[in-house]
């Protein structure tokens, strides 16, 4: 049927597979996201730290004069080990949080504000595919900033090291990957929940920030000081995820005495809460019963 042939006609051709249809959403969203020059600059800047780390790894293995220096010993914080990659995650973690505050709030609120959800859900496209599609926007954007950059650094370091560094540090290799994903998923769920409950984009961004900073203040400052405990950190998403990273990278509880098991339970509960918020809001129509 040509464009000017104004007749209605059914489509009987082949359809795309149902399983990968959620990936249509990120494809459309990325076109909008990268029309913002500021966001593009911010995204590019987020790779400066991994680049510095890569240069550092290169230098530590290639500058003969450093090795030739008498009594030269690498300071602990510069040693390329699990601690190095944990610090890398902490630094990049802040960048990805900032980026999620930019992108996340508009993901669902745009559709909710104009009753667009009924159009998505009247198609062979479920609520959970919708959430998965929106989450994949965050995951695809944040992956190169976190675990992909980290793995690149590990491969670089492994290439320079004698023996196979990755094989000797498989726990770090996979712990880093899982740790990065825990942060990506937590941020994705938080962004979508805020976006689903607050229709205004700016307010949703503020709500995300308030959830993280408010939790930090309430948990780590008020509860910990009032009750002389460390369990207040459970409300501090940044400390909580940091504790999980320490556990995954085998670093022990350096920053807090928070038990690892409580950190895991709280993390799962946090995802559950966000999931519940999404379950309540991601509907074609709200029913007032």
């Amino acid at each position: 049927m040509a464009v000017y042939e104004r007749n209605y006609k059914r489509y009987d051709g082949a359809l795309t597979p149902l399983a990968t249809r959620f990936l249509i959403l990120p494809r459309y969203i990325f076109k909008d996201v990268f029309t913002s020059r500021w966001l593009l600059i911010f995204y590019v800047l987020s790779f400066i730290f991994p680049l510095i780390c890569a240069i550092f790894i290169y230098l530590t293995h290639n500058l003969e004069f450093m090795k030739a220096l008498p009594n030269f010993e690498m300071p602990d914080f510069l040693r390329i080990d699990a601690g190095f990659f944990e610090r890398f995650l902490r630094f990049q973690g802040m960048w990805v949080f900032a980026l999620t505050i930019f992108i996340g709030p508009g993901l669902v609120s745009k559709d909710l504000a104009n009753n667009g959800l009924s159009l998505y859900l009247s198609r062979p496209f479920s609520r959970w595919e919708y959430v998965l599609g929106k989450l994949s926007v965050i995951a695809i954007l944040l992956s190169p900033m976190t675990w992909m950059s980290g793995w690149f650094l590990m491969l670089l370091h492994s290439g320079y090291e004698e023996g196979n560094w990755i094989a000797d540090n498989l726990g770090v290799f996979f712990g880093f990957f899982v740790g990065a994903w825990l942060w990506i998923i937590a941020l994705g769920f938080l962004a979508l929940a805020a976006s689903a409950w607050v229709k205004w984009r700016a307010v949703a961004g503020f709500a995300m920030l308030a959830a993280v900073l408010g939790g930090s203040f309430f948990g780590s400052v008020l509860i910990n000081n009032l009750f002389s405990t460390d369990y207040g950190h459970l409300l501090n998403l940044i400390v909580l995820i940091g504790r999980l990273w320490e556990g995954l990278l085998g670093l022990g509880g350096g920053s807090t005495s928070l038990p690892l098991s409580s950190a895991w339970v709280t993390y799962v509960a946090f995802l559950g809460l966000c999931g519940l918020m999404l379950h309540r809001k991601i509907r074609a129509y709200e029913v007032v019963g």
Binding site: E5, D12, N114, G116
Partner: protein, 305 residues
């Protein structure tokens, strides 16, 4: 051939409120009008058939496919034009319609091609690159129709498609719906509280009242049945006049205080009515032959259910 829609004791509840009560029926028309007063359950029925609400009991099938077990297969056959404003802001009409086509399973290239076609088809060809939020109400309605058509559905749900349109825009929308119907490739369920819209577009009518089916009929058959009747306007003691007419075997229905509808048996003629009027001192101020309009069918369904 499988019925377009098959309802089997379909009940939908919102808390304690029973929005749809034990709906039963098979509907096969090419264009079915869904009528009823506000709150009758028209939109709830459409939303249930789209899978937005889960039935409390009973089941529904569309083209033989069960709504609960084959929900995705059902929705891939459906196009839906919602009653309320529904679009994604910041998108041009062509991107919006293309996205909706892709979500229905069209490959990207075909979705884009059909998005252009659908927008031309609904008369938005020249405005297809404009952001949707800059559209007028009539244009938004047509964009909603385009997204409902883009994937070439077998069944099209149109929920109040002429809502808020001015007369020329309404006329254009009705023309489009009739055109889609006449293409013969798609079945249409048209929900409206405007009887004229339904009368102009639909062959069958399903009337709902308080969540129940009040009446279902084929308009063409009703017309073919030639239910011609007389409409009289009387002045004087009309009650005794009507009673006397009924005693003669004339089917009477008093529609107001003075307007009366009568179906004359073959053994009587209009002369009988004048004779009765003379006998009961009643003036016949108006007498005309009429056929049942959709308004009459609707009123009757509302009264009788």
């Amino acid at each position: 051939m499988e019925p377009v829609i098959q309802l089997d004791d379909l009940t939908v509840r919102f808390g304690k409120l029973e929005a749809l009560s034990q709906l039963v029926g098979e509907f096969n028309g090419r264009a079915i009008g869904l009528l009823g007063p506000n709150g009758a359950g028209k939109t709830t029925l459409i939303h249930t058939l789209l899978g937005f609400y889960k039935p409390a009991s009973g089941s529904a099938r569309i083209f033989g496919k069960d709504l609960r077990r084959e929900d995705k297969a059902v929705r891939s056959m459906i196009g839906y034009m919602p009653e309320r404003d529904a679009f994604i802001s910041g998108m041009s009409a062509v991107r919006f319609v293309c996205l909706m086509g892709e979500l229905s399973g069209l490959p990207p290239r075909i979705a884009l091609e059909r998005a252009h076609e659908a927008l031309y088809y609904v008369g938005l060809g020249e405005a297809r690159y404009r952001p949707l939020e800059t559209y007028s109400l009539g244009m938004k309605q047509r964009a909603k129709l385009a997204q409902a058509l883009v994937h070439g559905p077998k069944l099209l749900f149109l929920d109040e498609p002429t809502n808020g349109l001015d007369p020329p825009a309404r006329e254009r929308m009705i023309r489009l719906i009739r055109d889609i119907r006449n293409a013969g490739d798609v079945h249409i369920i048209l929900s409206s509280h405007l009887l004229r819209d339904v009368e102009e577009c639909c062959e069958e009518v399903l009337i709902l009242k308080a969540g129940r089916i009040a009446y279902y009929c084929n308009l063409a058959e009703e017309r073919r049945a030639d239910k011609k009747f007389l409409e009289l306007e009387l002045h004087g003691p009309s009650e005794s006049y009507v009673d006397a007419a009924r005693n003669l075997g004339i089917d009477c229905e008093a529609d107001g205080r003075r307007r009366i509808k009568m179906v004359m048996p073959p053994e009587h003629s209009i002369r009988t009515l004048y004779e009765l009027a003379n006998e009961y001192s009643v003036q016949i101020r108006h007498l005309d032959y009429k056929r049942d309009s959709l308004q009459d069918i609707f009123d009757k369904a509302m009264r009788e259910s």
